[in-house]
């Protein structure tokens, strides 16, 4: 267990020491919040849907979590290139512990990053619906962090160098984000789009997070959201530890 802790701590130390990373990974969601939130705001309001800024804020918290978690998982490739991976691979401990430490570290970083974004959105004028529901929102943030940190680690274990990076971002991360309902309501979508949003685990995260932060009824239902996220995180934990155990250097 000490091994899980020490690798978790390593991720956190690396994160807190690179302020540039903290700021850089906030740039995109903040841009979305300001440009889209205020840009599309009037149209959204005219359609009788309320404040668009408030609508997308939970989605952008999820976006922050998604990006941070996947990237800290993919950092595994960096560890492979800069050699530190080998140091962990010759350690006399089960590889499962090593990958768990990494995934939990990535999820923790993502959680903090999401929290920072939430604070930024408060400055931009966002207010949550009900303070009492905040623990539920945190639960969803943790789950989203674990799901995508595990996904990133799985990718990082499967790829041997950073050349697949662009591919992963373009064909996986952006679709996961755009199909999640972070930017639009999931009601009354065309059937094909609706189908894909249901396949996207982030949809359930955004749904649960939006319900907890903004109130209102959840599209899939909070229980379904929790169930799907927990199942997917268990699945991805298993997949990434299997892939990690197969790494030979």
């Amino acid at each position: 267990m000490n091994v899980i802790y020490i690798l978790w701590l390593r991720q956190l130390k690396r994160y807190t020491r690179s302020r540039a990373r903290v700021v850089a990974s906030l740039a995109q969601p903040v841009l979305y919040l300001l440009a889209m939130g205020y840009g599309l705001g009037p149209i959204f309001l005219a359609a009788g849907m309320g404040s668009y800024r408030d609508f997308i804020t939970p989605g952008l918290v999820a976006m922050t979590l998604l990006f941070t978690a996947v990237f800290s998982g993919i950092e595994l490739i960096m560890d492979r290139q800069f050699g530190f991976l080998k140091e962990t691979l010759v350690a006399p401990v089960p590889r499962l512990w090593i990958i768990l430490g990494r995934i939990l570290g990535g999820a923790t970083i993502a959680f903090f990053q999401g929290l920072i974004f939430l604070c930024v959105s408060l400055i931009a004028g966002y207010r949550w619906d009900n303070l009492a529901a905040l623990p539920v929102a945190f639960l969803f943030m943790v789950l989203i962090g674990i799901v995508f940190s595990a996904l990133g680690s799985a990718i990082g274990s499967a790829l041997s160098d950073a050349q697949g990076f662009q591919f992963v971002i373009g064909f996986l991360i952006m679709p996961l984000f755009f199909l999640s309902g972070a930017m639009f309501p999931l009601d009354n979508l065309p059937a094909a789009l609706s189908f894909f949003t249901r396949l996207d685990p982030l949809s359930y995260g955004v749904d649960g997070l939006r319900h907890a932060l903004n109130g209102g009824t959840a599209h899939f239902g909070v229980a379904a959201d929790l169930l799907v996220l927990s199942a997917v995180s268990a699945l991805l934990l298993a997949v990434s530890s299997w892939l990690f155990a197969r790494i030979q250097v």
Binding site: N2, V3, G83, E87, V90, P94, L159, Q163
Partner: protein, 272 residues
């Protein structure tokens, strides 16, 4: 010491008919050798000869295609974690975490290798002092020079008091002063703590100076082994370098034969 170890067996490493294939390329081709406890053995060979692949098999990082290995009486393929407790390794490429300090790198290793808390701090101090890094223990490794990094890697590899140390080209890219000092420290370690050392190097004069025995590998096969003196006599050479060239020929090797590069290329093909 621990379960399964055969302390009475004078052999620390025993490799029998060891083979590693990457596709149809034999990186290591049916090699057998033994390393005694307390020995310093140099594993020499041109680029792509199979040195690093052999070390990776001995250190549980690669599974042999065929053949047997015993490290301290244990099989790395079936008991990897027991074997991992018994060796320290300094890889050919750096393997430190640059963002962390020297102290933190050591502590991480201590936790990963389950060095008991009571002795951890004391041992870290002793090793950092031995390798003259104690004063700079709180600096992040990214500010360290090549020589300091190497010293830190060796100190780290010794933290869990392994009876066996692998050094894969530990002096590559270091200036003569640093190299000289490093070997003095390693020889002292071997004499005082009886650490068995298995090393690879391209500097023949270093091998001649520190190694009791030399194993020469080329094209995945062992082509000669013995004391430096024996190899010189065998080839009627003045120096080990001349003996090495007499045994391995003087044509320059393709770096590409490196199995890691081959795997990288295969991975790229797979992605397209």
């Amino acid at each position: 010491m621990t379960t399964g170890s055969a302390q009475n067996d004078p052999v620390m490493i025993r490799a029998q008919h060891l083979t590693k294939l990457f596709g149809d390329f034999a990186a290591v081709n049916d090699i057998s050798f033994e390393i005694q406890r307390g020995e310093i053995v140099a594993f020499l060979g041109p680029n792509g000869a199979g040195k690093t692949t052999t070390i990776k098999m001995l250190t549980t990082l690669l599974k042999p295609t065929s053949g047997n290995i015993e490290v301290d009486g244990l099989n790395p393929a079936s008991q990897p974690n027991e074997v991992r407790k018994r060796f320290g390794i300094v890889f050919q490429d750096p393997s430190l975490d640059d963002e962390l300090t020297a102290q933190e790198n050591m502590e991480m290793h201590g936790a990963l290798f389950k060095v008991p808390r009571q002795v951890r701090a004391g041992r870290i101090e002793k090793l950092l002092r031995m390798f003259e890094l104690w004063e700079r223990r709180r600096e992040p490794v990214k500010r360290f020079s090549g020589g300091m990094r190497r010293r830190l890697e060796i100190a780290r590899g010794l933290l869990h008091t392994p009876p066996l140390l692998f050094l894969d080209e530990p002096t590559l890219g270091l200036d003569p002063q640093t190299r000289n000092q490093l070997w003095l420290q390693l020889k002292k370690l071997n004499e005082e703590e009886h650490v068995t050392i298995f090393l690879t190097t391209h500097y023949m004069e270093e091998a001649e100076r520190v190694a009791r025995r030399v194993v020469i590998i080329d094209g995945g096969r062992i082509i000669a082994q013995g004391t430096p003196q024996e190899l010189k006599q065998q080839t009627a050479s003045q120096t080990l370098e001349q003996a090495f060239l007499a045994l391995t020929g003087s044509t320059i090797r393709e770096e590409e034969a490196n199995p890691t590069d081959r795997m990288r290329r295969m991975a790229k093909m797979w992605r397209r």
